[in-house]
């Protein structure tokens, strides 16, 4: 049994194919890069519809299966950018109807947690999910992934991206903004204090970004020092909140997932904290850290086994679908 998953919440259009035993057969990603500025939802969606057929074909070829062997189609139903989500949903509905197989709507945040668990064999972790659109500390409790802490404004990845963009850098295939900041930070030496904003279990990054941009525009500090200071501050905040959740839930694993999970400095901070609490540190492999179709396919397979399919006519996208609204009956504790 195979599940084909389509991911299209933001700037990536991706198709993954996963066997029901958890083996990932294919994962093809096509990214949209804006000419200037951040993601333009309509242009991203146009990119997705332009590449959709090629990405699907490539994924099938990579998986070495016939379309008829697919038993369920899953798609990222939310949260995300409307035009992008709708494009992915349209492709998913078309394939499901054509093949005559059931459709499953997957929550993007749940998928990031599930692919992390699949690839690291974590059982019941405290998860730090960090990306360009989300910053969430969550853990399973009573049937759902509960949010213990999150950003009150922008996502941490967004904060790093905007800073790098304002500093004049351009991202490209294989070199996202986060990697640029990480590389520059490695040569930073002097720490400039920036607002450290942890409010209980929640965090705020927008004031911090403004302060960092002000320092940048003053032009008195090197870009390396600023990236270093920015990383140290935001990652310390993330680590503090994760540690609080770990102390609170007394779980025995820490899982780092999402695009920012690729950052080595963040990994090392969390590894230190996990060790101190006698917990195992798990980090999603780099190729499944960014948005990918495999995570949607895998979560779709889990949901399908619990009968969570949706009829095509009710498969509306859910732009603001919160993590803790989703029942996850496949998780056992």
């Amino acid at each position: 049994m195979y599940c084909l998953g389509i991911e299209s919440t933001a700037d990536d259009f991706s198709v993954g194919i996963v066997a029901f035993n958890g083996r990932i057969l294919a994962d093809v990603i096509s990214a949209y890069f804006p000419e200037t500025g951040g993601i333009h939802p309509r242009e991203a969606a146009q990119h997705h519809s332009r590449v959709a057929d090629k990405v699907v074909a490539k994924a099938l070829k990579e998986a070495k299966i016939n379309p008829e062997q697919i038993s369920v189609v899953a798609f990222s139903q939310g949260p995300g950018l409307g035009p992008c989500l709708r494009t992915g949903a349209t492709v998913a509905r078309a394939i499901a109807v054509y093949l005559g197989v059931p459709l499953v709507g997957v929550n993007h945040c749940v998928a990031h947690i599930e692919i992390g668990k699949l690839t690291t064999e974590a059982q019941d972790p405290v998860t730090l999910y960090v990306s360009g659109g989300n910053t969430i500390v969550a853990a399973f409790e009573a049937g759902r992934y509960r949010v213990f802490g999150e950003t009150l404004d922008i996502a941490v990845g967004n904060c790093l991206d905007v800073f790098a963009r304002e500093a004049g850098y351009r991202q490209r295939e294989g070199l996202p903004f986060g990697a640029i900041v990480e590389r520059l930070a490695a040569d930073g030496k002097k720490y400039h204090p920036l607002p450290y904003s942890v409010k209980g279990m929640d965090m705020s990054f927008s004031g911090l970004l403004t302060a960092a941009l002000n320092l940048l525009h003053k032009g008195e500090h090197t870009i390396e020092d600023l990236c270093y200071s920015l990383q140290e501050t935001v990652f310390s905040m993330l680590t503090e909140v994760t540690e609080r959740a770990l102390a609170h839930t007394e779980k025995l694993e820490v899982l780092l997932t999402g695009g920012v999970a690729a950052n080595k400095r963040l990994q090392s901070m969390l590894r230190t904290v996990a060790k101190e609490h006698g917990a195992k540190f798990c980090v999603v492999p780099k190729q499944y850290a960014l948005d990918n179709g495999a995570m949607i396919a895998w979560t779709g397979a889990l949901a399908y086994r619990h009968g969570l399919t949706i009829p095509v006519e009710k498969s509306f996208v859910r732009l603001k679908w919160r993590l803790e609204e989703v029942e996850v009956p496949w998780v056992e504790t």
Binding site: T151, K199, L246, R322
Partner: protein, 226 residues
């Protein structure tokens, strides 16, 4: 400075290893006291680490003192040792509200929440933001008094935003640990909060909480709790 007075020979017992600080129970000059020691975190830069620990060690007692003046019971402070990031304070006998709230009769639970709302109202009326309003940070004494502890993330602020975030945290704490009663508890808190700060101000804060939730990117269906 205080370090010498503190290092008297009576034995010390680790009460709780927190995420941010360790709490020790100690016999000190004939009293039972709690020492809150902010521990150095290996994961963060020494410079940032020291900055955070010292800032919080100085500010916490100031906030606790002001809270008391506002009519909100907090442990008495005996000594502040800035260099070692330690606070010496009264040991409060009782249980964390988190441990007992789920097992109360509905009537008692609402009474407690009503009382809690008044306390938060008094804090906010006096520009005190607790910063970590969870039911773990409230001790219920045997005579049903609530003692508010851990002002480590608190601040003085006149901003509506800060009051909104404070109560948003409490609401979230109810939802994550006491989810069956979250709605009733939070409504009761807000009702008695309004009794202290006034209906108009309470409405503004509630409006702010909604805005914060919307800003949290995904508006949940649970918003009907308000």
């Amino acid at each position: 400075m205080g370090g010498n007075i503190g290092s008297s020979s009576e034995k010390t017992l680790l009460l709780k290893k927190g995420a941010e600080a360790d709490l020790y129970l100690k016999e000190w000059h004939g009293r039972k006291i709690v020492i809150k020691r902010r521990i150095s975190k290996k994961y963060r830069l020494p410079q940032l680490d020291k900055q955070i620990r010292i800032y919080r060690t100085i500010h916490e007692p100031q906030l606790m003192h002001r809270a008391k003046r506002a009519g909100v019971p907090t442990p008495t402070i005996f000594l502040v040792d800035i260099e070692n990031a330690e606070i010496y304070m009264e040991y409060v006998e009782g249980k964390q509200l988190k441990q007992v709230l789920n097992n109360m009769s509905p009537k008692e639970r609402l009474e407690i929440c009503g009382h809690l709302g008044e306390l938060v109202g008094r804090l906010h009326k006096n520009m005190i933001i607790h910063g970590d309003l969870t039911t773990s940070n409230m001790i219920l004494t045997t005579n049903k008094q609530i003692i508010v502890v851990d002002f480590g993330l608190g601040e003085f602020s006149q901003e509506l935003e800060a009051r909104g975030v404070d109560l948003h945290l409490l609401k979230r704490a109810f939802e994550s640990v006491h989810f069956e009663f979250a709605q009733a508890c939070f409504s009761k808190v807000m009702e008695s909060y309004a009794g202290i700060v006034g209906k108009r101000e309470a409405r503004r804060v509630l409006e702010k909480i909604r805005e914060i939730e919307r800003r949290g990117r995904y508006v949940s269906e649970r918003k009907k709790i308000d």
